[in-house]
Symmetry: C2
Subunit: 439 residues, 2 copies
Amino acid sequence: MVYLNETHDPSLQSWVASANVAENGFPIQNLPFSVFRIAGSSQAFRPGVAIGDQALDLAALARIQPFTGIAQEALDACQATQLNALMALGQAHWSALRLELSRALRTDSSLQSTLEPMLHNQSDLEFALPAHIGDYTDFYISLHHATAIGKQFRPDNPLLPNYKWVPIGYHGRASSIGVSGQAFARPVGQTRPGAEDGTPGFGPCERLDFELELGIFVGQGNDLGERIPITEAESHVFGLCILNDWSARDLQAWEYQPLGPFLAKNFASTISPWIVTLEALAPFRTAFQRNADDPQPMPYLTSDDNKAAGAFDIGLDVLLSTQQSRADNAEPALLCRSNFKEAYWSIAQLLTHHTVNGCNLQPGDLLGTGTLSGPDQGQEGSLLELNQGGKEPVKLPWGEERLFLQDNDEVVLRAKCSKPGYPTISLGECAGTVLPAKF
Amino acid sequence: MVYLNETHDPSLQSWVASANVAENGFPIQNLPFSVFRIAGSSQAFRPGVAIGDQALDLAALARIQPFTGIAQEALDACQATQLNALMALGQAHWSALRLELSRALRTDSSLQSTLEPMLHNQSDLEFALPAHIGDYTDFYISLHHATAIGKQFRPDNPLLPNYKWVPIGYHGRASSIGVSGQAFARPVGQTRPGAEDGTPGFGPCERLDFELELGIFVGQGNDLGERIPITEAESHVFGLCILNDWSARDLQAWEYQPLGPFLAKNFASTISPWIVTLEALAPFRTAFQRNADDPQPMPYLTSDDNKAAGAFDIGLDVLLSTQQSRADNAEPALLCRSNFKEAYWSIAQLLTHHTVNGCNLQPGDLLGTGTLSGPDQGQEGSLLELNQGGKEPVKLPWGEERLFLQDNDEVVLRAKCSKPGYPTISLGECAGTVLPAKF
């Protein structure tokens, strides 16, 4: 699964000028997928690929049949309102389509004049969920996050004994996943009883948090009863997006035993509109960095490829703006700068573990990584870590402070891959805003 | 929501003779919905309603437009391969359709000759999932089950402090839900390390169990950010089915902390094909029986209707057959006889709690009740309770015994409502078979 081909040539330039601007994030080496329409219109959503500050309409392109073979088959699957049909085709198709799109968008392509009318300014567009998400699973793959959260509940024993053996995951709610720009009312619910009368509290959440995650979109699935071996797992992944797994900590603390988080999470989850394929991320593969005393993963979770290049170097930022900061025209505050390469489990290990019991994955299923905190200060991917369990408010540059999110706070997650000699590959951004509780 | 109308008249008889046979379970007062096709055919599945040992093809009926108004609108929604469109229409539509179907199937209906060609022997049919299940949530509403299981983990403190306040629930896996007759391979996975070297076990599950549950199909949903008040909650319920939430106890014990069950549950869940509407169950409403020292539910979970008639008297049986018992032509063993009326939380409370934070439900979503154990011996809805935590094998009448399920064991769950002077209302049965592990 570790491959580089002509689409990764860092010297490639596009006839779409904005794609060649350093740090644009959507150069011709990226080519992420979304579904879009003209903002405010009643058009059907259709698949698109990003190139610079433009998006190419893949449904329109499909109609003129510019490609042949499996590349054209993949393009034909883009005549739909979501990407599930494309996802179901598998890696050979995605790769063939990427190659043809790369060639068609390169400087001096003979298709330039044909494609130009199919481009839209991204700033004129609105986006929808890129796929129908049949099932959403959230994992817990940052050892640093698990340890920091565990310390708050069990100071003497922060990490549970299963953590380094089992890629811990649980099922989340698919229906309440929205796309970047999502605004949602502060959730309401029960909270732990106070000392007085033993009656639980009830009202708007007072400990609302973000969680910095990546989302993994499943491409081809597996039949019920079959499993996906570790050596094949990455070929079942269509690509990655950014995910904010909003969390109501006070609801969670009261409800989560013995069956896990429920209303603390299922009021909203937000993903970025663009899905960056694993093929686009290949130049940023890196080895896993485990400690010498960590156990070897069990055989079903082990492969040489996975050890050598199963991690991805993806930089992650969390930014916060508030009603006051926006009124003051202050820049958003950078709350956290982390990296996906710090994760304890790989993407391949998540898919293989998820299916080892025969559970069937389907095209468009979403797997969340869990909060991607790093080991150091400033790398905490949630307020619950930044505020040390609700004890130390985070000071914001414009004079406010935050223990947890206030109404009208906007959280923006960003993700990108950077290294010398290669264009920046961006996953775009995932923005969401907390509205006041309705009740 | 407590209503009885002419469709509940116990003296009604059908021109379908088998519907009038005592104990048939599908009398004209029932009229449950499924989707079916001729077994082994490549026909599209279509909605049907049960009447005696027959099923009426509602897609065929819709084409001749026999009804008017909202009854016909509801029937038109049955020209589909699943029931989601009918579910989305809401209670007034379901009730109007039920009334017209009741009239059309009654003795001396003028529609008899029209409908006769649209009837099929149920024994000639195969069934599919009646709806596309967008999200599946499993609750935990039997105090008796929660206490029995809790005792095994925490002998001194079996019931967690949130139990009598919060209808505990968690998200399950929608993709692996199958319909009665489902056969699945024994799941494989990690188990708790032995005392020796601290390395987890890995292999086929050795503690495979059933869980006796009912499933609640959501009809009309709610928008994200809105909630369903307790007084309106039942009008969002299309009906009930039987659910077997198969559970791998050894996988569960090792993986479930801190985020809940995952691979221990998501390899398979099985539901009965027929959905019995709440309207059909209305004659079996009953008051909640709480202990005097149980706390009053919080105000958002309280309504007079719910207290007076929010429970349903539905008898539940678990039967087991094995390879040996079938070879011996022995009757299946009755492992458990329980009743839904013993549940601690009502259907209305589950929907209202699920949406109190703004979580959106959608037509076709499935809510499981959790294992419906009763207070007494013989009412335990899982082997883990019957065998007292894996200590006392269950003796079977033909000489075998079971701690947990063996390969080729078949578990059949049955549910029906009975009372003097009213025809038996059956929910049918939910059968599933354990196949040997594949790996």
